[in-house]
Amino acid sequence: MSFETNAVTITVFSALFLLVTVLGFVAARWKRGDLDLLDEWGLGGRRFGTVITWFLLGGDLFTAYTFIAVPALVFAVGAGGFFALPYTIIVFPLVFLVMPRLWSVASKHRYVTGPDYVKGRYGSRSLATAITFTGLLATMPYIALQLVGIEVVIQALGIGGGHLPLIIAFAILAAYTYTSGLRAPAMIALVKDTLIYATVIVAVIYIPSKLGGFDHIFSAAGDALPKRDEPGALIPSGADAQVAYATLALGSAMALFLYPHALTAVLSSRSQDVVRRNMSLLPAWTFLLGLMALLGYMAIAAGIKVTEPNLTVPALFDNMFPSWFFGVALAAIAIGALVPAAVMSIAAANLFTRNIWKEFVRPDCSDREESQVAKIVSLVVKAGALAFVLFLPTKFAIDLQLLGGVWMLQTLPAVMLALYTRWLHRWGLLAGWAAGMVAGTWIAASQDFVPVWATPIIGATAYTGLVALVLNLAVASVLTLVLGRHGRADELDETRDVDYDELRETREPAPAVGAGVA
């Protein structure tokens, strides 16, 4: 199908887009701090409380691309695409256990990024650089995918043809991220999240009522899926499909909070108490994502035909909604792309500045220069992502984003296990990381970027990232045993056991910078 230009849709869309643009710039004055400091620009002064952290993390983790891609996958393959639900259920208890420890140690030593912590823990520049490299590599295509999300919206508005609208949207985003830092996406997230909730709740009540109820939707999907060229199913049956389902859920959950943008949002909260409380509140997003996934089946029941799967949701909305609400829904998706794109580029900028610039280029640079470099890097990163989308095929970004999860998972031993034990040797960790990166990339490429692999030895089809992680841990453990005490250098560990105590409320006041701190 093709989309037609509609004046009402475009007006509603533009008004909402204008609103968040203004908010993005106003955000610089919100909870005012000295934006010439990286802690302020890149972490919002570590002052965000429960409500803002909830909006920010929700807006950051549940990206626009997720809301387009998950229903599209469910539309295409059925139950297999639904692993996003168990994935985003178990991720929060997992994070509840792990992240408060990281928050505590990071707040004590003023770490801004994952590699900051790894360097403090192991005193190894090479290991920290490996983690930095992984984070940058995985984040770039993820930002590019948010642009793909905006492109889909532009297409749905019927104003495609030429990349000008995309470039304008991104220039605006780059400008207010530059001036306001993390405060901009935090503030915009309030609008974005409200719009997304409104859209999805209306969609799952209104659309089924027009399609004859959920039993009809499920039975239509159950009839249509097995007849696809690549047959799908409503219920995953057989060991292969089920092992793939479970390992994808587990592996994705383990990878999610290793991403720089997720760490940034966690570290920007005021206390580990805020982090922990949020883990019982964020499942509201999981529920929303599950409802979104069902849109894939609604599209099947509505007989939607699309030229590319990413257009499934816009096509369904166009078909079902009056034009003004179609505008609201498209704005929700487009603004939903801006929040994660901003947080991701800030996270990448933090990484580059702290762990490459300050580490290798200007070790003695001032706080002001540090913040200035980060601001410029956030622009460069966005320009890079834009070039990605303009000059390379979309499939390339999608494949790389899939690889991104596999890659991030390989940093788990050095970042997450390190929160509990320093047993693994730093050279073992580095070798394990390299082995996992190479093996994971090679397997994924050989499978044409399908994220699961019929693993020999265990004889099941499992998530590539987990398979590579097992290899990673095996290499790291063997080397640790071989190296023994040699070169362990425990005295390089600048953290103390007590720094990790997530149950001890630190109550350290937020740094007193600027005026008007609440």
């Binding site: 909870k31 965000f48 409380g49 429960t50 409500v51 803002i52 139950a79 639904f82 639900l85 168990p86 259920i89 178990i90 929060f92 208890p93 997992l94 509840f96 256990l97 309030l190 109820g213 959920f214 039993d215 009809h216 939707i217 499920f218 409503l234 219920i235 995953p236 049956s237 089920q242 389902y245 479970a246 859920a249 587990l250 005021r270 206390s271 108490d273 805020v274 922990r276 409380r277 883990m279 019982s280 509140l281 499942p283 509201a284 999981t286 529920f287 599950g290 069902l294 149950l503 001890r504 409320e505 109550r507 609440a518």
Partner: protein, 77 residues
């Protein structure tokens, strides 16, 4: 106090073994079992996590983390 953390393993057990729930019946409100079972874990997991949070929380919450009007206070300040 940390023994409460064990409760957080329950959702993993409930969700990471699909043979447990990959069936069509019994249905609920038109949803096959496979779907409503997983949806049901969302509030259950949230409740478990909140319970563990309350049980492991140390001392009194700071004034900023307590009471009503949190939204107004955080967003407007």
């Amino acid at each position: 106090m940390r023994r409460w953390y064990l409760l957080l393993l329950v959702p993993f057990a409930g969700l990471l073994y699909p043979p447990l729930y990959a069936t069509q019946d019994p249905q609920l409100f038109g949803f096959p079992f496979f779907y409503w079972y997983q949806f049901a874990w969302v509030p259950v997991t949230a409740a478990l996590t909140y319970f563990v949070y309350r049980k492991t929380r140390s001392g009194e919450p700071s004034p900023a983390d307590r009471g009503t009007g949190r939204f107004r206070r955080e967003v407007a300040s």
